[in-house]
Amino acid sequence: MRRAILAALWSHWRRHPVQLLTLLVGLALATGLWSAVQAINAEARASYARAEAQMGGAGLAELHAPSGVIPLATYVALRRAGWQVSPVLEGPLRHGGRVFTVMGVDLLTHPPLPAIAESGADIAPVEALGAPGRLFARPGDAAALAGRDGLPPVVATEAVPPGLILTDIGAAEAVLGRPGEVSRLLVLPEQPLGRAPLNEVAPDLVEVAPEGRADTARLTDSFHLNLTAFGFLSFAVGLFIVHGTVGLALEQRRGMIRTLRALGAPLGTITRLVAAELLALALIGGLAGLALGFLLAGLLLPDVSATLRGLYGAPVEGGLSLRPGWVASGLAMAVAGTLAASAASLGRLARMPLLAGAGSRAWSLRPRGWRMMAGAGLVLIGGGVGAIALFDGLVAGFVFLGGLLMGGALLLPPALALVLRLAAGRARGLVAQWVWADMRAQLPGISLALMALLLALAANIGVGTMVSSFRLTFVGWLDQRLVSEVYVTARDDAQGVAVAAWLETRADAVLPIRSAEIRYAGAPLFVYGIVDHPTYSENWPLLDALPGVWDRVVAGDGILINEQLARREGITPGEEIVLAPDWRMEVVGVYSDYGNPTGQAITALDVLLRHVDGVPNQRFGVRVPPDRATALAQDLRAAFDLPPRAVVQQAGVKAQSLAIFDKTFVVTGALNVLTLGVAGFAILTSLLTLWTQRLPQIAPVWALGLTRARLARLELLRSVALAAMTAVLALPLGLVLAWALLAVINVEAFGWRLPMHLFPLDWLRLFALAIIAALIAAALPARRLGRLPPAQMLGVFANER
């Protein structure tokens, strides 16, 4: 019996291959976009975990100095007091336009280092420990470092994360030029009983538990959550296709199912077999989606890696590997999504009375149905608003976005029905009245596709406005921040002093760019020291400040902090922050600092040098009349034999910054375009699947005297009108989405709030795109209609008799 029922159910798909293809493509697109994002996230997170594991010390507590540097004497005192600690020295090494991180560890006391053990290099311990030591780096990095003078031999190994140079602490001291310094101390697992407490031996140090550290995985969490949200939006849009196709397939099979039951097939068996059939299709579509997702992830991963490296300095390798967990979760999403999208249809099937009419019911939504839909939409929006009003945090922000988008989508069909009813009431002429009435009749069948279009358009407007607002603000901010005409980086401090002296008579002003990394509230804080010059007070972008802010900063009486630090720690001007036990400062202002994930502060250079030793003196901003900038840059390079990258003009820095910015949003843009594409496909599939139902509606009008060509034109017009109305309604939804992204999600995810700008030209472009998508989608059914043989139209009447 089951085989006979399955054969009957399957025969529907055999006779409707386009419908089957639509369902599978919808599933594949939904799963593909979702799993691509998941693959990227998994790959990035695996890279972070691998990097941490290769470095050993994961899960160990650490001792940090607020100033960022632990004196050697403190380390010795701790060891003498019985503390089992292992020193680590870290610092940047600039070479060939790249910045590497040198990490020096005590190879004798550090926990086992897989990065060295798995390097495959046959190195005797004495070679790594004794002078000149060995540097371990990835093959690409090792090649980049080759030929640099003064470096120990470099061992190429895949076991070291990209951008990192691992070595013994002795070698690191020499490479970094920081003898006798320690950046942090690892607290080893085995500690003797009765050791002296930390506040007695080293009161300046603080112990940071592993979970308290701002590691890469935590820093990048918000970025991955954003990607996940985009993936989920694409998944939801894809599921609209699945929902529509499954619903239509079951409606078209109502007659068959009634016949099956009349012939003795039990309803329970039929329902279970339909569910099993959907499950099988979900697995097939899901597998195709996984293949698509893997391909897509491979294409997008290089850009994402660049973004993560640029934004967070996070080590992400370029390769993509197939993970069983990813395959399983992708298939689970496909199955869960299919069942969710089909639940209503399956429910209707399970409750279908045997003697009910076989006619379609999906398209018979009554005003009460519209009202219920509108009510559900308002409830969802209300829930989202409630979530953001009652709770803080990124999750509340996404609940708000989800409620807003789904609620808005549910409000669309009732809103369109209302517009169409009003239009029908005002229509003059019989054909116009029929067109409006027919649009209303067609609305339930196409509303799912229009909802998908609404979501895609709103997401495009929202994300587009966010990115464009961000870019505009970023450009303005760059203009304020990058005021100096020329930026120069000397090879070392000695050359820095020489360069400053050389510039003294040749430039209007030489502004040192000197900074030190310290720890504040368990995270890195970069403190910059500035000299007294109107360049800062006239240009620096302040968001909030106390009176006389610049006078107080240059007098060493106050400190400025960036927006990220202010939001993260809830600091407002007027409050005092403790940077070290003997270094307290009043916050006198907050400045915007887009694109920077870490805390930053600005104070007088004297103050910085008083509290931190060894602050590099290599970088300067040079103020000269703009027409002399090029000549000065050339003279500088010639005078000190500096490479081109060491002397850059303002325009070059801005172009570089903007290029990094644009790269950051490549993935967002790609997902945006793909989502719009999926929505366009949803319209096409809806119109194609509705085709069989359209004939009985069109044939009587044709019989009454309208030509097939005119009917085809009206068909096109109808789709375009519905898409245009949807696009108009998508605009307010998209703008609210943009506001939420700028004022809620960005603040929670990145720590900065951006002003919202409007871009009406972008809306027009998107509106045109929506119309074109609807035209393309409607062209095929309209063309079919225009060429339909009269006999087929007549067949409608024959079948109805």
Partner: protein, 228 residues
């Protein structure tokens, strides 16, 4: 009526639709094996309802219906489904073929569902119904008469004990109607099944062994020929 035990018996059967309107009241009737019975009546008299009750598609509110020795009143949904699958076959006015299956698949479908597919028998039926040249065609490619022949073939291929037909020629012209009826009666008589056929046509009713008439939900005397 023959003396054999009844294949279908209804005793004092009543059915009321939601709203309180009685459709059938106190209906008692029999169909014996091999017997063909016509059921006529004006529109709304309860003919189709009676057929639905006899075919286990619906449940009576009162009275007892027994098909091939099995009382329908004691059956749940699954039991009714089994009854329709294994002992009864239905032929509808609207044919109710499976549109996505071809003629061959439609013909064999009910028998496959009942788990007693007999290819030789199905092939013989296809031959007798003149469908051998259309075995690969889909229902939409057939005329109304051909579709009804497929529906009859599907029913008979399952070797039912009882055939219930609701206006099987109602959608066909006179010639097609005659041909379809001839074929159906021939197959029923050869198989020994009982037939209860609902029709508006007195001419068709006269060709069957017995003629019952329903009026306002009750069995009534068959009207005189001139009154129809």
């Amino acid at each position: 009526m023959t003396d054999a035990p009844a294949l279908l018996s209804l005793d004092d059967v009543a059915k009321t639709y939601p709203g309180g309107r009685p459709v059938l009241q106190g209906v008692t009737m029999r169909v014996a094996p091999g017997e063909t019975v016509a059921l006529t009546g004006e529109s709304g008299s309860g003919k189709s309802t009676l057929l639905n009750l006899a075919g286990a598609l619906d449940a009576a509110d009162a009275g007892e219906i027994v098909v091939d020795g099995v009382s329908l009143s004691g059956l749940d949904d699954a039991g009714r489904a089994r009854m329709r699958r294994e002992r009864v076959a239905l032929v509808f006015q609207q044919f109710n073929l499976i549109p996505s299956m071809d003629v061959a698949q439609n013909l064999a479908f009910h028998a496959r569902l009942a788990g007693r597919e007999d290819r030789a028998w199905t092939d013989e039926i296809a031959g007798r119904l003149g469908l051998r040249d259309h075995m690969g065609a889909y229902p939409e490619q057939l005329s109304g008469g051909q579709q009804q022949r497929v529906a009859i073939g599907r029913a008979m291929a399952a070797r039912p004990r009882l055939l219930l037909a609701d206006e099987p020629t109602g959608n066909l012209d006179e010639t097609a109607s005659e041909a379809v009826l001839d074929l159906m009666l021939g197959l029923v008589r050869d198989s020994g099944a009982g037939l209860l056929l609902v029709t508006h046509s007195m001419a068709i009713a006269r060709r069957l062994d017995r003629h019952l008439h329903l009026s306002r939900g009750r069995l009534a005397p068959v009207p005189a020929p001139e009154s129809t």
